[in-house]
């Protein structure tokens, strides 16, 4: 078998410096804005994080009950509720609804689950026109690219690249003026909204009690998607449930501030069904698709806390590894710390295929510190590393020294002390010779090793105690 490469580290090494700096500086700015927004507006944001964490965990611990309650509440509101075990089923449900409604055009607002099910390519394959209406997602779509961040999908692109893409797609003449670029996209997308038959959204929260979904956007595109279309389809992960209406403010308070440092996003929508008889406009039908796609398995695993995630992206913004690698390095829909846990567990091709993701962390804990629902991400990364070892996933151990021999010495003081003596050889051999060991070579590529002083403190202590301790 060919030697496995550390794909994420290689990706980072091959990233062009312009992209890296763009990602790092944008991430840094969002991290700072988050801190300012939370600590300006609340005395103790950490208390809010803990509370939100408890509410989310409670919802997950009682998920079957809340899903049942939600189904009944949505149905009462005139919403047709569907259940999809996996992405293929969810996509098939969307296609089926569209065919039944005689629809051929869908405008879509941003939704990570639809990235997960690869809905757009699926619909296109079946002859439907599907247009992403979130500006970033639209750029991703026309470029045949993938989002590299769950909140800011084109954090890896700059305005010049966007200008060239718009020129290529015939949206207008090349410009790098963000305002003009936005106007071009707006002109193009407005017509798409008017032409579409179906508006497709995700949901930021699903309220079990009331049967309403909550949607937040900054561009108003979710709202537009529902203005002229006759059918609204919302696709959500089953974990998106929050129990009560009165829980919504807590999460809205945290989501915008954690994601972009905004007290509230520009648009917040509460949607509780299709248009009523008294409304002149709006979708006549509303469908809600609950997607499992591996979530039940995660709920039953020792990583269930990851399902608390409200997709704010704060963990990736603060993550020093994400800042160096950008999101594509993670080879999955969900990048960064949350992705390093979630993606291997959701992966269609199985856990071993992405078993290197949980290793792409120095376990610094910055992610948990900023998480609005206090997910113990470092602990979950550790559990997945252990899972990788137990399941002998080769990608768990790429370029990682084995530690069984070390552990043997560390449980036997005599062997340990012998090791301390032998280690002094390090000081007499030229350090270049240490490079036969791949780990030593890797270390020495950019860092010096300190002189080995094995056992010196023990010797000092012996002499010191003989002297009778402190003078």
């Amino acid at each position: 078998m060919a030697k496995l490469e550390q794909a994420i580290d290689n990706h980072a090494a091959n990233l062009d410096e312009e992209t890296r700096e763009a990602v790092r500086l944008a991430s840094k700015a969002k991290t700072e804005k988050r801190v300012n927004a939370l600590w300006t507006d609340f005395d103790d944001p950490n208390a809010l994080r803990k509370l939100a964490s408890q509410v989310r965990q409670h919802a997950l611990d009682n998920l079957p009950d809340y899903l049942e309650q939600a189904e009944a509440a949505f149905q009462k509101n005139g919403v047709q509720v569907h259940w999809a075990e996996d992405g293929d089923q969810a996509n098939a449900i969307v296609l089926d609804i569209m065919r039944r409604r005689g629809a051929s055009k869908v405008v879509k607002s941003k939704s990570m689950v639809s990235e997960e099910t690869e809905l757009v390519p699926f619909l296109e394959k079946h002859g439907m026109e599907a247009v992403e209406t979130d500006l970033g997602e639209y750029v991703v779509q026309i470029d045949g690219d993938h989002p590299s961040h769950i909140v800011t999908p084109i954090i890896h692109k700059n305005r010049r690249q966007v200008g060239r893409s718009f020129e290529r797609e015939g949206l207008g003449e090349y410009t790098e003026d963000p305002l003009e670029l936005t106007r071009m996209a707006r002109r193009h997308l407005r017509q798409k909204y008017l032409d579409a038959d179906v508006g497709m959204t995700g949901a930021n929260f699903v309220v079990a009690e009331s049967g309403r979904i909550v949607l937040v956007t900054n561009e108003g595109n979710a709202r537009f998607s529902m203005a002229a279309t006759k059918t609204h389809i919302a696709m959500v992960g089953i974990e998106k449930i929050i129990p009560r209406e009165q829980d919504v403010p807590l999460f809205l308070s945290l989501l915008g501030r954690s994601a972009t440092g905004q007290p509230l996003t520009v648009y917040t929508q509460f949607i509780g069904g299709p248009k009523s008889a008294s409304q002149e406009e709006g979708p006549e039908e509303m469908h809600l698709i609950f997607l499992d796609n591996g979530r039940s398995d995660i709920l039953a695993s020792n990583c269930k806390e990851i399902l608390r995630c409200i997709r704010c992206g704060a963990c990736m913004n603060v993550c020093p590894v994400y800042r160096q690698t950008s999101g594509h390095a993670y080879r999955s829909v969900y990048p960064g710390p949350v992705g390093a846990v979630l993606s291997p567990l959701l992966n269609k091709a199985g856990f071993p295929d992405l078993a290197d993701l949980p290793k792409a962390s120095s376990l610094c804990g910055a992610c948990q510190e900023v998480c609005p629902v206090d997910i113990p991400i470092p602990d979950l990364l550790l559990r997945l590393r252990n899972k990788g070892k137990q399941e002998h996933a080769p990608k768990t151990s790429i370029n990682t020294p084995g530690l069984s021999f070390w552990a043997l010495a560390a449980t036997q003081p005599a062997a340990w002390k012998t090791g301390l003596k032998l280690g002094h050889a390090m000081n007499v051999v030229p350090h270049a010779l240490l490079d036969v060991n791949p780990s030593a070579k890797s270390w020495r590529s950019t860092r010096e090793l300190p002189p080995f002083r094995g056992g010196d403190f023990r010797s000092w202590l012996k002499a010191h105690e003989k002297k009778g301790g402190a003078s």
């Binding site: 090494a13 840094k28 910055a366 510190e369 550790l382 552990a407 590529s445 300190p450 403190f457």
Partner: protein, 249 residues
């Protein structure tokens, strides 16, 4: 993260494997600082390592063996004082993660409740909030990541800022990791290097006379980078500053 509750001046000292192998002077400074405070110190000779390298590599069977050895070696009721935020985080949190479904979880939790990082022990455990003596110079203090969720960093700041002649300088992006992460530094060498470079820049940005750390693991990494890059700012563990201050009374 379990917060320690064991009090008193009869203590056990965990030198940490890095000090055992590389940084005897740091272990010695820590020991002498504790001695100055009137502690009755036992240094169990059978101590090796806290087990963190194996835990972090996912080799939990190996990690549990080493943790069991550590729990046995440091048995008793006394506070265990450790000149490292990272090893303290291992005994207080990481080890417990690895023992969640083990019959001897209680014993591991017992060690957790006794484990103090050095500065935290002095300030939170002994209630000392100022340090005697003098140390002249500007100091950039690295906040090691594994002190998150504890009072270690603020304890160190309390002590250092009380020393006459010592000025703590601002360090940018304090929450960012130096890129060590144990085996992470060799299995993700490129990313680790980039993180280390940023850390060195932040630590030396305000032209401090010294760079200080609460963890020799971090300093092994960013210090190794400083040496390679020829950045000559002297580096000290916080205990070494406390000791030098005592010498200038």
């Amino acid at each position: 993260m379990i917060q320690p509750t064991a009090k008193g001046k009869r203590i056990k000292f965990m030198m940490t494997c890095l000090c055992d192998a590389f940084y005897a002077d740091v272990a010695q400074a820590s020991y002498e600082v504790l001695e100055h405070l009137g502690c009755e110190i036992e240094v169990p000779a059978g101590q090796t390592c806290c087990g963190q390298p194996a835990l972090n590599s996912g080799e939990w069977e190996s990690a549990r063996k080493v943790v069991r050895h550590t729990v046995k070696t440091f048995g008793g009721e006394e506070p265990v004082v450790i000149p490292s935020g990272s090893c303290a985080a291992m005994t207080r949190h990481g080890a417990i993660l690895g023992f969640e479904s083990e019959p001897d979880l209680d014993e591991v939790e017992g060690l957790a409740r006794r484990s103090w990082e050095l500065c935290e022990y002095i300030v939170q455990g002994l209630g000392i909030d100022s340090w005697p003596g003098r140390f002249d110079g500007k100091v950039a203090l690295h906040r090691s990541c594994h002190t998150r969720g504890t009072k270690v960093y603020e304890s160190a700041v309390t002590l250092l800022s009380s020393i006459e002649g010592l000025e703590l300088v601002e360090v940018g992006e304090l929450e960012q990791c130096c890129g060590f992460g144990g085996t992470f530094s060799v299995s993700f060498p490129y990313v680790s290097k980039k993180m280390g470079q940023l850390k060195v820049e932040h630590l030396t940005e305000k032209r401090p006379n010294y760079v200080a750390s609460l963890d020799m693991a971090c300093m092994l990494h960013f210090g190794g980078m400083m040496d390679r890059q020829g950045v000559k700012t002297p580096r000290l563990h916080v205990s070494q500053i406390l000791k030098k201050a005592l010498e200038n009374r």
